[in-house]
């Protein structure tokens, strides 16, 4: 499910894919599973709250809501403006920031942790990858 908010954080455009194409979700799963398993309950609580809030607003799970409405939802979540009843277990702003930071790391970080498939973001920024030893000139 987290691939949907991730795609909002880094959406695909005409030229370059977004978080889904870069398989950012793999990165997030690795980050929690491999490096910070202690964060797993936090993610579970956060995802449950997102779904509750989404159902309250749209009567659908977040992944089934249309893109523009998802954007509005996340803007509210970022500002802490979603109905507080759904966020008793975890703070909405905190969980938004968690998704944002992890998505950025997954899209713009190195592919060895599961995201940034085929060095997509590096190519987008004009970086040759893998790095050539010596002077990288473009």
């Amino acid at each position: 499910m987290l691939d949907r908010p991730s795609e909002q954080i880094i959406p695909a455009d005409d030229q370059w894919g977004g978080a889904t194409d870069a398989e950012v979700i793999n990165y997030i799963e690795n980050w929690v599973g491999k490096y910070y398993p202690e964060m797993s309950p936090i993610y579970k609580r956060g995802i449950a709250a997102v779904q509750k809030a989404s159902n309250r607003l749209y009567s659908k799970n977040f992944q089934d809501v249309e893109f523009a409405a998802q954007t509005e939802f996340l803007k509210k979540m970022e500002a802490g403006l979603l109905d507080g009843q759904d966020w008793t277990e975890i703070a909405q702003k905190y969980f938004f920031e968690e998704i944002r930071v992890r998505s950025m790391q997954g899209f713009y970080g190195p592919p060895r942790h599961g995201g940034n498939k085929n060095y997509m973001s590096y190519k987008m920024c004009g970086l040759e990858m893998p790095h050539l030893l010596g002077q990288n000139r473009y």
């Binding site: 455009d13 954007t71 790391q105 190195p110 920024c125 004009g126 002077q135 990288n136």
Partner: protein, 467 residues
């Protein structure tokens, strides 16, 4: 370095290192695992969750400290600064900073100069101070010529620095600008600061003094050895107690004990070394050990241009100026301002003009278009701690290895007058943090730090971030 001096003088020594030998394969250009950003973890680390604080691994050591043989120099940025003579007399020069931990050194620059020279030749520094009127006096030139400036230095930064009446010069670097000490010259690749050099052209203890010490046959490096106490007999240090990775306690007798565990690690070790003579920790009868630990603030400005300016010819940091270091009459003692090491894309995701969206399509567009259009002028500024709060000492965890760790606490008493602020105020430039935010604004922007001619940069400041 001390081990090398002792070993070459024929004294047998053992180096206890809590970490392991560094491994290049651990982080080949990994922006999320390195010694600079530490998004997943730092590069050289011991398993802190196991050994120190199972709950909050990030709380166990001050940010970014290395834990490997050869320590911080494996991954540092390798700028080779000497103190200036004034740095030895800070209290005399800046008596107005009340409550700070400022003190004059008991030695002078002249006394230390021969040792700077020895270190620069043994480890290897490339530099040229001829254009730096503030350079501390030196008897011998640098052992290697300076690195050539990058394209953006020549095109943008140096002309701008000169227009402001300042004096740019090449940063002295502990990197091989030419073949030196039997090792290759630097390839100038993109990642350097925070990473292990793939061709061994970055100079540190790893490829200089430690191999020399080991070659004598007098120096043993013992890895996975976590020192927890200096054993004392009266006033005399007689050995060190340490744990191995299996959590077994060992004792290494010694006639000389040198604590070189970093500024926080050494303080930690001394505080843990209690004895009859030193009930509050070794050398801590005055209660000053672990207090007043110094660090530096980063300050600086990002300039956003409407064309690609960055040549990405690594490692990025090449030019500096010292005009804002030590102006006692203006109470300014900033440190040095330099061009910055390059960053890979993730580190740039946070760099936006104020009020810019931090996610979504617009954020991505900015990243795509401006990755090579941003330059950063960067300063390492002095930061003084008050005498009182200093470092606090806490005990965590239950295992014997969950020994005390130190957390920097308390307020900074005074940040050296920051260069970026001074540049702006002194020159009628915009106030900190209020740069223009988009290209349209930029066209009319009068205030510039970096360049006045068009194409003009947008300047947005990042001030007072902790290093």
């Amino acid at each position: 370095m001390v081990a090398k001096q002792l070993a070459t003088a024929g004294i047998k020594c053992v180096v206890l290192e809590r970490g392991q030998w560094p491994d290049y394969e651990d982080s080949p250009n990994d922006e999320l695992i390195n010694q600079r950003t530490h998004a997943i973890r730092p590069l050289h680390y011991m398993d802190r969750r196991k050994f120190v604080n199972p709950d909050k691994p990030w709380l166990t050591d001050p940010f970014l400290n290395a834990a490997c043989v050869e320590s911080g120099t494996v991954t540092y940025g390798a700028m080779a600064w000497r103190f200036m003579p004034q740095d030895f007399k800070l209290h005399t020069l800046y008596p107005h900073i009340s409550g700070s931990a400022l003190a004059d050194w008991p030695i002078t620059y002249d006394e230390l100069e021969p040792f700077y020279e020895q270190a620069e030749y043994e480890i290897g520094v490339a530099g040229d101070q001829r254009d730096n009127p503030y350079a501390p006096p030196r008897k011998k030139d640098f052992p290697m010529p300076a690195f050539e400036y990058n394209r953006e230095d020549k095109d943008v930064l140096i002309p701008a620095i000169k227009r402001m009446g300042f004096h740019p010069y090449p940063i002295p670097m502990l990197r091989n600008s030419v073949r030196y000490n039997g090792r290759a010259a630097c390839l100038r690749n993109h990642t350097c600061c925070g990473y292990i050099c793939p061709c061994d052209a970055k100079n540190g203890t790893q490829n200089t003094v430690i191999p020399v010490a080991m070659k004598t046959g007098n120096c043993e490096i013992r890895t996975g050895a976590i020192a927890v106490q200096i054993a004392m007999q009266g006033r005399l240090a007689v050995g060190v107690r340490y744990y191995d990775l299996e959590q077994r306690l060992h004792y290494q007798p010694a006639s000389i004990v040198v604590s070189a565990a970093g500024s926080s690690g050494s303080a930690k070790l001394l505080l843990m070394s209690k004895s009859d003579m030193f009930p509050n920790g070794l050398g801590n009868n005055s209660d000053m050990v672990g207090r007043c630990v110094n660090s530096h603030h980063y300050t600086g400005a990002f300039g956003l241009f409407d064309r690609d300016v960055s040549a990405e010819q690594g490692p990025g940091a090449t030019v500096a100026f010292s005009d804002l270091n030590h102006i006692p009459e203006k109470k300014i003692f900033t440190g040095v301002l330099c061009s910055e090491f390059y960053a890979l894309p993730w580190m740039r995701t946070q760099i936006r003009p104020p009020k810019s969206p931090m996610w979504g399509a617009e954020h991505k567009r900015f990243q795509r278009e401006n990755y090579r259009r941003i330059l950063r002028l960067f300063g390492r500024c002095r930061r003084f701690r008050c005498t009182k709060p200093g470092l606090c000492c806490i005990r965590r965890g239950r295992t014997p290895l969950a020994y005390r760790c130190l957390l920097p606490r308390g307020q900074t008493s005074f940040d050296g007058g920051t260069g970026a602020h001074y540049v702006q105020r002194g020159r009628g430039r915009p106030e900190g943090g209020r740069g223009k935010t988009d290209m349209a604004d930029k066209r009319q922007a009068k205030p510039q730090i970096l360049q006045r001619r068009r194409p003009a940069p947008v300047v947005f400041l990042q001030n007072g971030r902790r290093s």
